[in-house]
């Protein structure tokens, strides 16, 4: 530990801490562009200069580690003048095309010019021209004129992904970011360079020109794309519904979590939210009547579905639950199965092709809550045997959650025989698929940004996702559909909120004992087994 003084305040920080991080701990932001806590120190932008007593010249805070007794000043006349000068240098060749730049509103140049620049421009010569609108890969577009050459993107590809696609080419004020010959920026994490680019040089090809960032609302969430459960922010466009073709999810951004995903998310997760606003969304409860599909009000659907379930003996019902359901949903489903005496319950359906995996974040299991389903006890049986039993008419009512069994690793004929063998097929999920087409009853579920809940990641960390906007059409959160069915089956009062379900879960399932939404917080909390 080292004790030092920053702007008159004494603090103690671990040895080896740099001055940007030390100052951050007492709420002082030393402006910087090239420094990023996940990347090596570059010291290129020269914006983070501070005065240190007994040192003749201002020093960069990023490459200065604390030492005992150090006295740092971040706001001396000299520091403020230096910042102003550096801002001018950053901006003399910048095109100042904010009105057509997607970064506007969240741009480091705009923010720091207002905070630390505010000089009278005096550059009257022709600016340096560089390539614009250059696709670097499937997701990232480069505008080299907007680039301040902080090298964060280069260091990301060198140090985090180890893929090394990017370099800085040429020299002096002709320097520009570019791809090494024969490469493209197509690694699994390419979108992160857009996040760490402090200016509008790297923009997201999907997000470009869709909606202005100041119209966006944000909500904390969890990526549903795999068992990692990366922490994300859902950025929602609702105030300008005519923007972005009416999609409510404007973009996903990583949310820092030291224990899970640090600063990053993979491209599959980042660009995997299309299903939320997709045409395939199930928006109303329906029942099939011969060739016709009829919409049914929830007030009619709940007794209808509950009545159907009651009509069969427990051993005539098979449930293929989903590891995409939340802990809350799965807990209520377990209770309902117990109440109905259903033992043919599983959640595992193998994908047609094994999922890809890497050693950074991506997990082969493309479900966010396999661990939760296992801990809550949904793996009583075997999905394939349940289907076989349906084919053999031993199971008469088949209740499938979200899976497209016809897109699984199992032979299509085997699946079809099972679906056609059951007298009654109930499908509950967010989107229609080939399996839902065989359902007699369809119960439309809210997608994850439309509801509250928790998932348990592969390491046993329980993490909350929150509602960003209301469900589409008449879809309901799974826990609510299951709560209503449970009420109908047992006459039990139904939970009003997801949090109520979680409270019951924590009381009933030992792995979750002692946990609450409060204790999970924004960073998540490991289940009991994972805590020891």
């Amino acid at each position: 530990m080292a004790r030092l003084t920053i702007d008159g305040r004494v603090l103690e920080v671990p040895a080896g801490t740099n001055l940007i991080e030390a100052a951050r701990q007492i709420g002082i932001e030393i402006p910087h562009y090239c420094y990023h806590p996940a990347l090596s120190i570059a010291g290129q932008c020269r914006l983070c200069m501070v005065d240190i007593e007994k040192v003749p010249r201002p020093q960069v805070a990023c490459n200065t580690v604390v030492s005992e007794g150090m006295v740092v000043h971040t706001e001396t006349e000299r520091v403020l003048e230096t910042r102003k000068s550096i801002m001018e240098f950053h901006l003399i060749n910048h095109p100042l095309d904010c009105p057509v730049c997607d970064q506007a509103g969240e741009c480091g140049l705009q923010i720091y010019y207002m905070q630390h620049g505010l000089y009278d421009p005096r550059m009257m010569d022709e600016k340096v021209h560089k390539p614009k609108a250059v696709p670097l890969g499937p997701h990232v577009m480069l505008d080299a004129e907007r680039c301040i050459l902080c090298s964060r993107c280069v260091r990301f590809c060198d140090e985090v992904t180890g893929t090394g696609e990017l370099g800085i080419f040429n020299r002096g004020d002709r320097s520009e970011i570019g791809l090494f010959p024969g490469t493209e920026l197509a690694n699994n994490y390419s979108g992160n360079v857009v996040d760490i680019c402090p200016v509008g040089a790297l923009t997201d090809r999907e997000f470009r020109f869709q909606v202005r960032v100041w119209y966006l609302d944000t909500q904390k969430s969890i990526c549903p794309g795999c068992a990692r459960g990366c922490n994300i922010e859902v950025h929602v466009s609702r105030r300008r519904p005519h923007h972005a073709q009416g999609r409510r999810v404007a973009r996903l951004k990583p949310r820092f979590n030291e224990a899970v995903n640090k600063w990053w998310i993979c491209d599959a997760g980042r660009y995997g939210s299309d299903f939320v606003d997709d045409d395939s969304r199930l928006q109303a409860p329906t029942r099939r009547d011969g060739e016709k599909t009829l919409e049914v009000a929830w007030t009619d659907m709940i007794p209808l579905a509950a009545g159907l379930l009651r009509r069969y003996r427990g051993d005539e019902i098979g449930v293929i639950a989903s590891p995409k359901l939340s802990n809350e949903d799965l807990f209520l489903l377990k209770r309902l199965c117990d109440a109905l005496g259903v033992r043919a319950v599983d959640y595992r359906v193998p994908p047609a092709r094994p999922g890809d995996e890497d050693n950074l974040l991506v997990r082969a299991d493309k479900n966010p809550n396999s661990r939760g389903a296992e801990l809550i006890g949904l793996g009583l049986s075997d999905s394939r045997e349940i289907l076989a039993a349906a084919r053999e008419r031993r199971i008469k009512c088949l209740w499938v959650f979200s899976h497209d069994l016809l897109a699984s690793a199992w032979p299509e004929g085997e699946v079809l025989d099972g679906l056609l063998g059951a007298e009654t097929v109930i499908f509950q999920g967010t989107n229609a698929n080939a399996t839902s087409a065989y359902a007699h009853l369809v119960l439309p579920a809210a997608a994850y940004p439309e509801r509250e809940g928790t998932w348990t990641n592969f390491e046993g960390r329980v993490q909350r996702f929150r509602q960003a906007f209301p469900p589409l059409g008449r879809a309901l959160p799974d826990w609510e559909i299951l709560g209503r069915l449970l009420q109908d089956a047992q006459g039990a009062p139904r939970p009003a909120r997801a949090e109520d379900c979680f409270r019951d879960l924590a009381a009933a399932v030992p792995a979750f004992a002692g946990m609450s939404y409060r204790s999970i917080g924004d960073a998540g909390q490991p289940v009991r087994a994972a805590r020891s």
């Binding site: 120190i41 570059a42 010291g43 290129q44 932008c45 020269r46 914006l47 200069m49 010249r57 201002p58 960069v60 490459n63 003048e81 230096t82 000068s85 550096i86 001018e88 240098f89 950053h90 003399i92 060749n93 005096r122 550059m123 009257m124 010569d125 022709e126 340096v128 301040i148 050459l149 370099g167 800085i168 040429n170 020299r171 002096g172 004020d173 002709r174 320097s175």
Partner: protein, 414 residues
Amino acid sequence: MSAPAAAAEPILTRNFGRADSHTLEAYRETGGYAAWAKAREMEPAAITDAVKRSNLRGLGGAGFPTGTKWSFIPKGHAGPVYLVINADEGEPGTFKDRYLLERDPHALIEGMLIAARAIGSRLAFVYVRGEYVVPGRRFSAAVRDAYDAGYLGRGLDIVVHRGAGAYICGEETGLISSLEGKKGWPKLKPPFPAIKGAFGAPTIVNNVETICQVPHIINRGPEWFAALGTKTQGGTRLYSMSGRVRRPGVYEASVRVPLRQLVEHYAGGVTGNGRLKAVVPGGASAAILRADEVDVTMDVDGLKNAGTMAGSAGVIVMDETVSIPEALMVVARFYAHESCGQCTPCREATGWIYKMTERIVEGRGHKEDLDTILDVARRGAGTTICAFYDGAVGPYISYIEKFRPEFEALIPHG
């Protein structure tokens, strides 16, 4: 006016007159490798101590005491230590290392053997400027001969590495980056090269001429060497004389030779209209001196007191017919072209200042341009990773401050 202080006896240039001076035979005939025979019997610390006492200072530009630099290698370091020779001579107006590589390559090899012993290095690199094709070939041939003769390969290996023509690779950490196979970008300090240099190992980077002095210090003693110079800087050095002089070329003289004597005596006087206007005494990065300021000695401290620097001792002479604004434009173009682009102030300001000087020379200057250049120059000074920009600031400010009316005359309605 001090008395002429020319070295009575040529030291670094003693063999330059022989057509075969680059050969091992010629080098041995004139006492070559005797210093190495002596040094290999000395304790490494004693070698460093001798170099310290000789007051040898780096002759590449910064003038840092050489023995002191060597002593920065961590004591008892277990891994490799590298000696790197900076033969990337790129400072405009400087061409003396080229002469040493071409005409006395074994002096460098012998100096390297001694220096490597002092710092505990078994592998040394010589980073030769890309444009130096003949010097590179001459030196490589000498290295082969030194291997054949058994000087190399028995405790010291030398790798000759050719640069690709970037000025910044003459900056010691830029050179190290380039040597490592990376883009030639200077590195953040700390860590300093003596602690963590080439390939992460403690590294000493020395200039060609500096190391060529070392055998003479060992042969004739540090006191003899120190006595050739001033109290704080020993020896002779090579002066690259260029510009408007009758006999441009490389001349050896004491580190304390008067500048006027270099111009008038060694280089044969001023050409053009014959009247001296200005002198840049230490390579392009040194501040310019007006004709009335040239009565200074060329040692590190003498020129520092005159507000400029000894630098690489590249002396550029201008007569009255030289346009200072045009000269500044050429210098500014050089810095804009050679800035590595790593640090924002240098990357942006060098280009901007070049555009302003070009505009002024073309008669499109604005009256605020001169103050803008001075302000931009000062604002960027001291804010960058390496000394490149501070080097550029020397000419930016001194050319304008000392010859302002000449600039103003070019500015319409100025």
